[in-house]
Structures are given as C-alpha cells and as structure tokens.
C-alpha cells in the first residue's frame, strides 16, 4: 500500500451535497485511516451512499474538500487502478459471460493481458463462481451477481476498496466467507464497508463512523465507539447486588447501577495501563463472592446498542 498524506486513505472535510431541495450531506467530516477496514453505518437516507458516490467520483460535492489517497478528489488519471468500488444497485452488462466481464474490467483496471486470465481465475475462486465463469451474467441469481460485483472490486491490487452493502443478498455461508475475506485484508489495503448489518460491521471493521442526516455523529476505532476497552457491564439475576463491595474493590473506577435493567456498569475510561480483563476479573470475584447471580458479562456496548441510542431519523432535511 502506498503512503498517504497524514495516514488517511480518504479524507472528507465539510462535504455538502444536495439533490434539488433535499440535503443529502450537511458538512460531513470523515477520516479513514490507511490500512483500516472502515465501517460506515447509518439509517436509510443518512447519506452513506452519497458519501460513497462522492468518494468514488460518481458525484461532485457541492461544498467541502475530498482527498483520496492524499491526491485530491477522484481523478481517473491519478487514481485509476488504485481505487475500486462495489456500487449499490449498479448492474453489470447482461450479455457477456462472467469471465468476459471480469476480463474487461480487469484490463481497464490495468491488469496486463498476459496476467488477466490468472487474475480472473483468482477472483472467480475468491467469490466461489469458478463453475459459472462461462455463463452469461443475465443467467445469474441476485446473490451470484453480488459476488461478481465483490470480485471485480478486488481485481488487480487496489489500495482502496469501497463496498456498498457487500453481503446484501448473499446466503449466510457466502456472507460469512466474504466477511472473513474482508477482515483478512486488514493492513494490506484500506476497505470501506457500508452496511446495515451492525454485527457485520462490528466483526469485520476496526474503525467505524455513524452517519445521520448527512453528518458524522460518531467515529473512531470500533473498540472506542462501543467502549469495548474501557467499560465492563455485568447484568445480574434476582438476588443480592454487591455494589458497595465492587466500589470498594475498584476504587478508581466509576461504578453505576441501573435498577430497571439490573446492570452494573464499570467504566475505566482514560486510565492508562488499565485492561478490561483485570477489571472484569476483579469485579467477578466480588460478585461471585457475594453470592450474586450473573446473567451476562460484556465488554462495552454492542454497536447495535450505540446505533439505537442515536435519535430516530426524520426524513432528509429540506430547505
């Protein structure tokens, strides 16, 4: 992967975009670290696809600045072969075979003619479509077309790959396989994934941004957004609640109790050298010693919980 300015593979600053009276992006700021697998999360109409389209150069931002791989907004001369994308709802040509389509896109991508056959074979294996290589794309199911779409995004050796809802329409086995492949790319190239599947984002991505109403409302490493490294949650069953004992055992941490959910939340944010494993062990020793019954123990909050904490989204803004 080539070096990028400031370590960002993609940088959006104050980006705005309107569709007539509808404001899709409203001064969006986003930094995607190079080499990360970055998740883009948000409700329908939040601006994820528009963000993708601007990053890919399909759309032009009305305001703000865009920088891809440290070389300004998308420019075919600068970025060809370095950036690929799986666009949402884009259809591949219907009358050529899968192999012909991949060959065409691969050649345009810059794969030399002597290498293209091997490259197409590699991609077909990656998306498990080797046996359909000679079939016309019009004969493929929705899921198979999606796999061809994912495959074309990994033709050549792109530095930045943008995937819009990559596992949408795939069966669970295929979706799992694609997720594993994406996760394995961490550190070798930058991948940006937009998805409604929060579990997918949480397991695949190491960074995430939550977008709502055309703005980023929360962004950072997944562990930071979910509190995975600075919060332990213990849900208790009916019985004793050793809150005082826990506070005594963890005097430097913030311990809170929610009667309704019977949840003990232990926060150790900003405590250098403090590790979640130590806090969890200490707390559990106290809880078990007090004879309390434990329902669940988690580190931080799930991404889904964080997402649900976001205010429900009204229709896109109109001015």
């Amino acid at each position: 992967m080539s070096a990028t300015n400031g370590g960002s593979a993609l940088s959006l600053r104050g980006v705005g975009k309107r569709y007539g009276r509808i404001r899709a992006l409203d001064g969006l700021d986003l930094e995607v670290p190079a080499g990360s697998v970055f998740g883009l999360v948000g409700p329908n109409g939040a601006g994820k696809t528009t963000t993708f389209a601007i990053a890919c150069g399909y759309l032009r931002a009305d305001t703000g600045t865009v920088s891809l791989l440290g070389a300004g907004p998308f420019d075919a001369e600068q970025h060809r072969g370095r950036i690929t994308a799986l666009p949402q709802d884009a259809a591949l040509g219907r009358d050529l075979t899968v192999a012909e389509t991949l060959t065409y896109l691969g050649r345009l991508q810059g794969v030399p003619s002597r290498e293209i056959r091997a490259e197409v074979r590699r991609i077909l294996q990656l998306v498990d479509l080797t046996d359909r290589a000679g079939d016309r794309t019009r004969t493929l199911s929705h899921g198979m077309l999606r796999r061809v779409g994912i495959g074309q995004a990994f033709l050549g050796d792109p530095e930045l790959v943008l995937l819009d809802e990559p596992t949408n329409g795939l069966d669970p086995r295929q979706a799992h396989s694609i997720r594993e492949f994406i996760a394995a790319q961490r550190g070798t190239r930058t991948i940006i994934v937009s998805s409604h599947n929060l579990h997918e984002i949480e397991t695949v991505c190491d960074h995430v941004a939550l977008i709502d109403r055309g703005r980023v409302v929360m962004a950072g490493p997944v562990s930071a957004v979910t509190g995975r490294n600075d919060e332990v949650r213990i849900t208790l069953g009916a019985g004793p609640v050793p809150l005082t004992e826990i506070r005594a055992a963890l005097p430097d941490d913030q311990v809170t109790w929610d009667e309704n959910t019977r949840l003990i939340k232990i926060s150790f944010l900003g405590r250098p050298g403090r590790e979640a494993e130590d806090v969890t062990s200490a707390a559990l020793r106290v809880v078990l010693g007090a004879g309390a019954r434990i329902s669940t123990v988690t580190r931080g909050e799930s991404l889904e919980s964080k997402y649900l904490e976001m205010p429900s989204t009204p229709p896109p803004l109109r001015r």
């Binding site: 001369e77 970025h79 994308a85 259809a91 050529l96 065409y104």
Partner: protein, 324 residues
C-alpha cells in the same frame, strides 16, 4: 482529458461494446430488421425497374411494329443506354435510358453534368444503395447508438467502469464501437442489395457492382460519423435509453430542418444565419458525396468527420461535468 493509455482503453471499451452488441438480442434484432428492410426495398427497386422496362418497351414496340427487342438483339454501344434483356429479367442498363424516370430522380440529386456522367456509368443498384443509405442510416444510428451511454447510466453499470478509465476514453470507445457497427451493417446491406440485384437483373455484373460498392461504402460510413456523434451527444446527456433515443430523433429532425431552412427562408433577412447554420448539418454535405473524384469528395468527407468530432466534443464538455 485522457489517461496514460487512452488508445488502449478506447479499444477495450469499443471491443466490449461490439461483443455485447453481438450477444444482445435487441441489437441483433434491429440490425437484422435493417438488413431485411434493405433487402426488401432492393427487391422492390428491381420490380420497379421491371415496370419501367415495360413502360419503355411498349412505345418502342408501337413505333417499330414489333414486340420489342428480343434476346440477343442489338445492344447499345459504349454506354449505359437501354439494352434488351436476354430473358424476361429486366436490365439494369434500362435505368439510364433517356425516358427512365430514375434519370430524372438523379437529375434532381445532382447539379452538374460531370457528376451526372459519372453516375450514369455506375450500376444503378449501387446508386440505389447510396441513396437509401443516406436516407435510412441516420435513423438506424439514432435507434441503436443513442442508447449506448444512456443505458449504462440507467443501469448504473457506468460506475464499474468510471473508476477504471476516463470519461472521454469511455465515451470515445462507445462511439468507436458504434461506428464500427454501422460500417459493418452498411457493408452487409450493400452486399445484400447486390445479391438481390444479381438474382433479379439480367445483365448484372459482379465486378463493376463490387467496385462501385467499395467506392460508395466509405462515403456512407463517413456520412454516418456526425450522426453517430449526435447520437452519442444525446446519449451522454440523458439518463435513460428511452430519453436518449427520443432526444436523438428530435436532434435528427432539428438537423434536417436546419438544412431545409436556407431554401425555405431564402428571402428572409435571417437567410445568412440559416445559411451559416446549414454548415452544422450533415445533410448539407450529402449532395457533395455524389461527386466522382476523391479530391471533390475529400473536403466534404473531412467536414463530416469534423462535424462528428464537434458533436462528440460538445457532448463530452457537458458529460465530464455531470453526476454519474
């Protein structure tokens, strides 16, 4: 404007376009329909020729008191004058007899004697091919070529390509693909016309007919260039195949009117404006393409290519700024 390998990308896009057209049922149906219509009209033309022979023969028979020249009878010397048929089939030489209405049609098309002398020695089926190609090829182009880029926008398939090559390369590849398709189809149509004529005409000679076709076919191809340019202009700046086709047909109508305007408003104070605008219409150069010498045809052919470049350039000017 172009990437580091523009020619390679243009060639790749054009090749993909042609392969896709070859597999597309709709494209094949349109091309087959065009060829069938060309064959049918060529057949009708030959039948008309037969009728013309009857019209010409009868007065001759009346004057001479015979049933007209029979097989092996006297033939005209050194020129395409009326000659009797060896069988019941009509003769292509008949078309240039002094009484032939076809000669009158030609006289309307051409304005000088040199051109007329050139045309009367050409096989009439080749002239028919040139005439009908000038009439119908623009429509074929508007129906097939106009949707080529717009269809990619409608399906958003352009987004797979847009990150891999420049917009100019993409469009020029599409234009090249369509141009090659038109060249191929018009050549096939010409060969089909010749085959129909050979089957029906008594004194049909393949040699002169083929050489005449090779003389006229490049003119048809070059004449098609600005129409392909217009179709791509419309295709680049619309969002669906339907709207692209509709706007291309409207554009075609506008170009035809542009060419008619100078004659219609010759006495108007705007006549100079209409005359100037006429240079932007490919129809204005059609008459020049009937001329005999390449040096006479060369200039209008270059202007037609230039016009095609202008249309594509205007389309690209806006296309490079539009959202995909």
């Amino acid at each position: 404007m172009f990437g580091p390998t523009p020619c390679r990308d243009i060639g790749l896009v054009a090749g993909f376009e042609l392969r896709e057209m070859r597999r597309s049922r709709r494209a094949l149906a349109v091309v087959a329909l065009y060829l069938m219509v060309a064959a049918f009209l060529a057949f009708v033309f030959v039948r008309v020729l037969e009728q013309a022979q009857t019209v010409v023969n009868n007065p001759v028979a009346l004057m001479t008191g015979t049933n007209g020249p029979g097989p092996g009878g006297p033939r005209g010397r050194g020129g395409p004058v009326f000659a009797p048929s060896p069988a019941d089939k009509p003769s292509q030489g008949l078309l240039f007899s002094r009484r032939s209405p076809f000669r009158a049609v030609l006289r309307n098309q051409v304005s000088d004697d040199a051109t007329m002398d050139f045309l009367v020695v050409q096989p009439p089926i080749s002239l028919y091919y040139l005439l009908t190609s000038f009439m119908f090829v623009p429509f074929l182009i508007m129906i097939t070529a106009a949707e080529t880029v717009a269809q990619e926008h409608q399906t958003r398939g352009v987004r797979f390509v847009a990150m891999r090559t420049g917009r100019a390369e993409f469009v020029l590849g599409k234009v090249l693909g369509q141009g090659l398709l038109v060249a191929l189809v018009t050549l096939l149509a010409g060969l089909m016309c010749l085959a129909i004529a050979a089957w029906n005409l008594a004194d049909f000679a393949w040699g002169p007919a083929l050489s005449s076709l090779l003389l006229f076919w490049p003119r048809v191809v070059v004449y098609a260039v600005p129409f392909v340019g217009l179709a791509s202009l419309c295709s680049m700046n619309t969002s669906s195949a339907m709207s692209a086709r509709a706007s291309a047909l409207l554009g075609l109508g506008a170009l035809w009117l542009t060419h008619q305007a100078p004659a219609l408003y010759a006495d108007s104070s705007l006549a100079p404006v209409f005359n100037a605008l006429d240079y932007l219409s490919p129809y204005a150069y059609q008459d020049e393409l009937w001329r005999p010498l390449w040096n006479e045809v060369g200039t209008p052919m270059l202007l037609l290519v230039w016009l095609g470049v202008v249309y594509v350039g205007v389309g690209l000017f806006f296309y490079r700024r539009r959202d995909l």
